[in-house]
C-alpha cells in the first residue's frame, strides 16, 4: 500500500503541476481526493491491514492528502492571480482622457469679493445692513453733511429721479438709516454692501458699481482703531504681509478724513506698473464720523465717536483677480465668468 500511496501522490502532483485551468485543477481534485477518488479508493483497503500497520499507513495517507492539497491550493491561487491579472490588463483605461463634465457654475467676482468681505467683517463683529438704491436726497446727501449747493456735490455726478430723489451715489446713506434704526443703542457695527450709481461711463468708470460701507459708533472710538481695523481687513483680503498707509483726504461726512493705500499686492511695495511705481495702491476712503452726521442719526457727538469707511468692490476685484478692464464686469461674457 505504501507504494500505491506513493504512486498516487506522484501522479496527483504531476497532474496538478501540469494543469492549465482552474476547471482542470478541480477535476484532478475530484479524481484523487473525491469521495470516489483514487486515494479514497485505496484507503478502503485499510481494513485488511494489521493493527500495527493501520495507524502507520493512516498517517501516511493523511500526509499524501495534505501534500496534494497544498499543491492544489498553491496552483489554485496562482491561477486565480493569473486570471485576475489578465482581466485587469484587459480593463486598462486611458486615464489622461478628460473626466465627465459636471457642470459647475460660478459666482460673479463682485459677489465673491462681497462675500469675502462679509465673512471678514462678521468675524470682527459686524452686522450687514441694507438700504434703498433709489434714495432721497436727504439720506444720500443732506444727512451726510452735504447740503444743497455744497461744492463737494461736484465730486459725484448724480443721477436724479427728481430734485428730491436720486439713485444713491454712495452706500454712505445707510449710515444714517442704521443709526436711526438703532435708536441710540451702542455699539453700532455694520457694513453695507450694495450697488451705487454715478453719471460716469468710460474705461475706468461704470455708471453702476458696488461699494461696501462700514460704520462703527461707540464710546471712545479713535482714529487709531480705524487704522488697526482696516489693517486687519486688508491683511485678510490681500494677504498677511499687506501694509496700509493713511493719507489726509476729504469727505464731507467724516472729519478727519483719510484715503487708505495698501502696499501693492503685485510687487509688495517694490514698485511696478500696477502701482505706477509708487509701491502703493489706493483702496478706500474713510474717516471719523462727522459730528453733524452723528447728530442726524440721533447720537450725541459729545458722548460717542465713530468711524466710517467705503470700499470700492470693483477695485478690489480687479486687484485680486487681475481684471484689467472694468467693463468686463458688466458684459457677462461667459468666457470671463467661467474663470471665477
Amino acid at each position: 500500500m505504501r507504494d500505491e500511496l506513493k504512486k498516487i501522490k506522484e501522479a496527483a502532483i504531476q497532474a496538478l503541476e501540469e494543469a492549465k485551468s482552474i476547471d482542470y485543477l478541480n477535476e484532478q481534485k475530484v479524481r484523487f481526493l473525491g469521495k470516489k477518488g483514487e486515494l479514497t479508493t485505496i484507503l478502503k483497503g485499510m481494513g485488511k491491514l494489521s493493527a500495527e500497520e493501520r495507524p502507520v499507513i493512516g498517517q501516511l495517507a493523511n500526509e499524501v492528502r495534505d501534500e496534494i492539497n497544498q499543491v492544489l491550493d498553491r496552483k489554485l491561487a496562482e491561477m486565480k492571480a493569473a486570471v485576475q491579472e489578465a482581466k485587469l490588463a484587459s480593463e486598462t483605461l486611458d486615464v489622461t482622457l478628460p473626466g465627465r463634465a459636471l457642470n459647475h457654475g460660478t459666482k460673479h467676482p463682485i459677489t465673491m469679493v462681497i462675500e469675502e468681505a462679509k465673512q471678514i467683517f462678521m468675524g470682527l463683529g459686524f452686522e450687514v445692513a441694507e438700504g434703498p438704491e433709489i434714495e432721497s436726497d436727504y439720506y444720500n446727501f443732506e444727512a451726510l453733511n452735504l447740503p444743497k449747493d455744497h461744492p463737494a456735490r461736484d465730486m459725484q455726478d448724480t443721477f436724479y429721479i427728481n430734485p428730491e430723489i436720486v439713485l444713491r451715489t454712495q452706500t454712505s446713506g445707510v449710515q444714517v438709516h442704521t443709526m436711526e434704526a438703532k435708536e441710540g443703542a451702542l455699539p453700532i457695527k455694520v457694513i453695507c454692501p450694495g450697488k451705487v450709481y454715478r453719471k460716469d461711463d468710460d474705461a475706468t468708470h461704470s455708471p453702476m458699481f458696488h461699494q461696501i460701507e462700514g460704520l462703527l459708533v461707540d464710546k471712545n472710538i479713535r482714529m487709531s482703531d480705524l487704522n488697526g481695523l482696516l489693517l486687519s481687513f486688508c491683511q485678510e483680503m490681500f494677504g498677511k504681509d499687506t501694509r496700509i498707509r493713511l493719507r489726509p483726504s476729504y469727505f464731507p461726512f467724516t472729519e478727519p478724513s483719510v484715503e487708505v493705500d495698501i502696499s501693492c499686492c503685485m510687487c509688495h511695495g517694490e514698485g511696478c506698473r500696477m502701482c505706477s511705481n509708487t509701491g502703493w495702491l489706493e483702496i478706500l476712503g474713510a474717516g471719523m464720523v462727522h459730528p453733524n452726521v452723528l447728530r442726524a442719526g440721533g447720537y450725541d457727538p459729545e458722548q460717542v465717536s465713530g468711524f466710517a469707511f467705503g470700499l470700492g468692490v470693483e477695485r478690489i476685484a480687479m486687484l485680486k483677480y487681475g481684471i484689467n478692464d472694468l467693463r468686463l464686469m458688466y458684459e457677462n461674457d461667459l468666457r470671463f465668468l467661467r474663470q471665477f
Binding site: 459636471l102 459647475h104 459666482k107 441694507e130 433709489i134 449747493d149 462703527l216 482703531d225 493713511l246
Partner: protein
Amino acid sequence: MQVSYNWLKEYVDIDLTADELAEVMTRAGVAVEHVIPTNKGVSGVVAALVLDKTPVPDTHLNLCHVTTDGENNIQVVCGAANVDAGQKIPFAMVGAELPGGLKIKKAKLRGVESNGMICSSKELGIDPEQIPPEQKEGILVLPEDTVLGTPITEIMGLDDYILELDLTPNRSDCLSVLNIAQEIGVLLGKEVRLPQPEFTADNDDVNQLMTVEIAAPELCHRYAGKMIRGVKIQPSPFWLQHRLQCAGMRPINNIVDVTNYVMMEYGQPLHAFDYHELADHKINVRKAAADEEIVTLDSQKRTLTDEMLLICDGARAVAVAGVMGGENTEVTNQTTDVFIESAYFNATSVRRTSTKLGLRSEASIRFEKGINLDTVLTAAERAAQLMQLTGGGVVVGGAIDNYPTKHEPVTITLQLAKVNNLLGTDITDARIKEILESLNFHILQDNGTAITVEVPGYRPDCSIPEDLIEEVARVYGYDAIPQTLPYGASSRGSLTAAQKIRDNLIQSLAGMGLHEVMNYSFINKNNDEKLNYPEGDIRRNSIPIMNPLSEEQGHMRTSIVPGLLNTVLFNHNRRNEDVAIFELGKIFLLEGELTPQTLANEKWTLGIALKGKTTQTWSHSGIAYDFYYLKGIVEELLADLKIADISFVPCKDNSIYHPGRAAYLYLNGQQAGVFGEIHPAIADNYGLEDRVYVAELDVDTIIAVGTGAIQLKPLPKFPASTRDMAVVVSEAVAAADLEKAIWAAGSELLDDVKIFDVYQGGQIASGSKSIAFALTFQADRTLTVEEVNVEYDKIFGALAQQFNATMRM
C-alpha cells in the same frame, strides 16, 4: 490747480526736489498728482548773437558766425529762412543735447563745416502753445536784452517743474500760490516771504474818479478797487508769461496777465475795466432783471435770471459778477487807464450762476469755494504794482474799499484732550499749539485745558474742533497714528434670515452649474414693447431717470428679463452657444407716487436663463435644456430651502412666455414666480433664434415663506413594498391632479409616489396618455401582499372614478 515749482521758491526756501516736495505735500493732504518737468531734454544750449549771414551757393542754407561771449566766433550752417545778422538766438554748442536724445556734433553740411546748431522752439521741445504765432516757424528769436551765454533753459523757463495738484474740495485755499507756499513753509519748517505791494502813486484819490455802490450786499460782501493811468498795453515779460503758462493759462497782454497772475498768487479773482468805457465812472453791484442780457468776453450773448449778480456801470451791465466780464468794457490795445476790481461775491450765488450759464472759469471756481475776505484789497494793490511794473503808468492814490458788513473772524474752542482722544495718539499740548500757530490759527485764549483760536481768512473749511484735530493730525503725520483695535462691548457678527437666503440662492445655483451675471439696473423703455407688456401692466410704469447717460439707460428696470435675454444674445454672438445664467438683483416698481417718504418698491428678484445644452465631452453628449430642466432647478432651489408647500399652475397669460410651456410657482398659496419657455415672438424681438428658458422668482416672497426646519424622519426598520401602477387617462388630465388623488386615496401606509414614465403614442388611444407611478408602501411591520393589494385597488379605484383612468396593460 497747476503751479510752477520755481514760482513757489520765490516765497519759501525749498531744499527738496520737485518730486520730494510732491511727496511731502501729498502725505499732508495736498495731493500732487503729477510733477512735469518743463525741460524735455535740453542741455548745452545758450543765448548767442548772429554776427553775419552768407548764403551757401546752390542751397537753401546760410553760413553764419555766432558768438556766445562777444569774443569768440563760431561758424555754423543754418537752414532756417528767418535767420539774420544781429539776432539773438538759442545756440546748441557742440556737445549739446536736445529732446529726443539728439547730440550736437561737429559736422559738414554740403562740404561746409558747422560747429553747432541754431534752434527753433520745436527743436527745444517747447510747448507750441507757449510760442507767439510769428515765432512758430523757423528759429526762435530771443529778446534783444538777452544776456549772451545765458542757458536757454533759464531764459525759457526750462529749468522748472509743473506741480499738478489734485485738490479736495475743502482745500480751495490751495487755489492760491501764496497759500500753497504757506503750507509748504509749515511742512518744511521754513519762513514764508509774502509779497509787499509797492508802487508809485499820484496824489489824486481814486474815490474822486470812481464811485462804487453795492445794491445787493447779501451777495457782494466787499468791493475794492484801484486805478492806474497811462499804462502801456503790451506783452508781459517772459517770467510772468512762463508762470501763467505753468498754471495752465494763456498769456494775452500785460493787464489781463497781471489780473490772472494775482488771481493765481492770492486766489483772488480780479477784473480789469477800461476806465473810459465805464459810463458815469460808476459801478453798481445789483441783481439782474429777469431775462436781462449781456455779451460776455467770449462774445456770447447770455440771458440772465433775477437771481444772478451783475456788475453795472452808470448805463448797463458790464460783467456777470464772479463769472465773466462783459465785452463792452474790455481792456484793448488802446486802453490807457484801468480800473481794477477786486471783490468778494457770495459763493453759492456764483456757483448757481456759473452752473446755470454753463460757464466755469478760473474766477468762478475760486468764488464758489469761498475766497479770503481779508486780502481783497491787498490783491488789488498787488495788481496795481505789477501793472506798473509791466506797463508803466501811474497808480492813482487812495483805494476804493466798499465793505458793508465787516467779516467777523471765525473762532473755534478746542479741548486739548480731545485731540488724542479722537486720534488715539500721544501728542503733547505744546506740539498741538505749535502746529496750529504755524498754520496761522492764532491762539486767542489758552486756559491750559482748552484753547480758542482764530481761523485764518483763507481757511473757510475750518469751523469745528474736529477740523482743527485734522489739521494737527496731518501735520503731525498720519503715519504716526498707531494701529489699535476698538475695545468696549463686544458684538456678534451676523446675517439676517433674508441675507442668508439670498446668499444660499446664489450658492445653490452656482452649485447647479449656472453662472452668475450682473446687468445694469437701467434699461431702455423700449423693452416694454419688446416684451409685449399689456397696457396698464405695472412693469410699464418704470421710473425714468431725469438725466440719463442715454435712452438705452433711461429707466429703472421693472423686470430682470431684458438683461438676461440681452446677455444670452451677447454670448450667442460671441459663440458661447450654451448659456446657463442667473442674476440676483432688484427690480424697481412704482406703486403710487414717488416721494422721499414713499420710495420705489425695490423687489429682490432672481432671474434664470437657459439656452442650448449642458457641456458635451468625448464621453457624454450634453443634456438639452428644456422646460423640465428649468423646473428641476426651481424645485431643487426650493428643496434646498426646505420649503414644503409648493405648487405649479399653468401660465397662459404672461406675454413673455410660451402659453403652453410656462408655469406659475406658488408657495403656501402665494404666487412667488413664473418660469418657462420664452414666447417665440419675444425671442424674435431680442434677435434670439433658439429656444430660451427663463425663470423670474420673487425672492422677497420666498424669504417671507422662509426656510423650513430640518426634522429627521426615522429610518424604516422593515422593508417597504413598491408597486407600479400605469394608468391611461385623457391627455388633458394634469399629472399633479392624479398624484394628488393618489395621496388622497392612499392610507397612512402610502409612503411615496413617483412618476417614472409618461407615454403618448401608437400603443394607446389617441388623445390619451399613459402615466406610470411607482407607489411605495411602508409600515412599522412587514406588510402582507394582501394588505398592499387592498391599498393598490383602492387607489386605482379612485383614479378610475375621478379621471376615468384605465389600467395600462
